[in-house]
């Protein structure tokens, strides 16, 4: 890094372009995405770069998708009963299978009718905890789970504030990655009592950068794909850094 020619660009000069081009390493990209989320001028620069680089697309020949793609897309945007909240990010995940709507409403009813939240403070260790979330029902906003994560050790503490037992479906916890990077399954959680999970490797690093967490209700015995819930998403919460 010494004796750079005077016209050598600094590491930051082309960062918006590098992010748009997607050449950064995962760590660098995470940092740049965080900056994009917090710095509107930088985000605008990234958008300008997207425009600049889009000319390359002219080289790519179009390929007609199979006839089966549109019906799958259409199923994913179907209205939800009388409550078509299309802005709801997580609602869309829930729509993959409209047959589960009834199960979703049952779960919501069971979750939402529980009274006073149980005290949770003593179940969440404070030492080392770096990220916390309150997971609330997407319908009605009732908090159902408090979550604390220690990114140094991968320890994840989950405390239901409202017991989620009683529903036949099994709550599964998800991480929501920043940007459009999708979701990552952590796994089934105990909806009735505080629990402790230990995350490692990819899951631990995803938890360190995720912007939100969410809970889907899955059929008993069924484990969904790691990047997409099959059951309805009933609760979500922002993952905040301490």
């Amino acid at each position: 890094m010494t004796d750079l020619p005077s016209d050598e660009p600094g590491p930051d000069d082309a960062l918006a372009g590098e992010l748009a081009l997607r050449v950064l390493s995962p760590e660098e990209e995470r940092a740049a995405r965080a900056r994009e989320a917090s710095d509107p001028a930088f985000a605008a620069e990234v958008e300008v770069w997207n425009e600049h680089l889009a000319g390359f697309v002219a080289e790519i020949p179009p390929v007609q998708p199979s006839a089966s793609v549109w019906p799958r897309v259409e199923a994913g945007i179907a209205p939800v009963a009388a409550n078509d909240n299309r802005a709801g990010f997580w609602r869309m995940w829930a729509l993959g299978s409209t047959g589960l709507l009834a199960a979703s409403l049952v779960a919501v009813a069971l979750l939402a009718t529980r009274p006073t939240p149980a005290p949770i403070v003593q179940t969440v260790p404070t030492g080392g905890v770096t990220r916390v979330a309150t997971i609330a029902m997407t319908d009605g906003g009732t908090p159902v789970v408090a979550l604390a994560y220690d990114s140094a050790t991968g320890n994840l503490f989950i405390a239901p504030t409202d017991a989620m037992d009683g529903a036949s479906a099994v709550p599964h916890l998800w991480l929501v990655r920043p940007g459009e990077a999708g979701v990552q399954l952590i796994g089934a959680i105990d909806g009735s009592a505080a629990s402790h999970h230990h995350l490692t490797d990819v899951l631990a690093s995803t938890a360190g950068q995720a912007v939100a967490v969410a809970i889907s209700m899955e059929a008993p015995g069924h484990t969904p794909a790691a990047d997409k819930p099959d059951g309805p998403v009933v609760a979500t919460g922002a993952l905040q850094s301490l």
Binding site: L21, E47, E51, F56, E59, I60, E74, R86
Partner: protein, 185 residues
């Protein structure tokens, strides 16, 4: 059948989709899905995977259409950016080293005459990019193009071109800055 739309017509359809208009969303899909699948397929090289990502892409488009601002982005660029980013995310979440084609293969593909662009793409902007790319050194132009079309990182590019990582970063950063000053002049 892919109806041909002008940029303005596509922007209007996307805006209406953002207001929850499913018919308008269908129009957006019909007009752009072949282009977007081309983008996904170029990065993922697997038809099934590319169509899965295409489906995710349009669900994202539906959710985010209300945030599309025609004064800041062209509609096709906005759509392509989502498709490309989702494809790259999928590529990188899968097992590493799926793509082992040397960078020269990409040169061969790219050396052909650019295809006639769709109506929804602004030919002026494509021409401007090509003019400005011609002002770059060959190696910088080549690696920037490969990075865009295949969605590969500095690390992968450095390995492919057999140069130190710092050299690859320098080529691309300098290329990007020169490109920007040309495009914005």
């Amino acid at each position: 059948m892919t109806p041909m739309l002008t940029r303005d017509e596509l922007a209007v359809a996307l805006g209406n989709a953002g207001d929850g208009d499913r018919a308008a969303f269908r129009i957006v899909y019909e007009a752009t899905s072949a282009k977007l699948l081309g983008v996904c397929l170029r990065i993922l090289a697997d038809r099934q995977l590319a169509e899965d990502v295409l489906q995710d892409t349009y669900l994202t488009v539906w959710r985010k259409a209300s945030t599309f601002d025609p004064s800041r982005a062209s509609p096709i660029t906005w759509l392509v950016t989502i498709a490309r980013n989702r494809s790259i995310d999928r590529l990188r979440s899968a097992a590493p080293m799926r793509r082992t084609a040397p960078v020269e293969d990409a040169h061969d593909l790219a050396d052909g005459a650019p295809l006639a662009s769709d109506v929804i793409e602004t030919t002026d902007e494509v021409n401007r990019l090509n003019v400005c790319l011609d002002t770059l050194e060959d190696r910088a132009r080549s690696v920037i193009r490969t990075a865009f079309l295949e969605g590969v990182t500095y690390d992968a590019l450095a390995i492919r071109e057999n140069v130190p990582l710092g050299t690859m970063k320098s080529w691309i950063r300098r290329g990007l800055l020169r490109l920007r000053s040309c495009l914005e002049s």
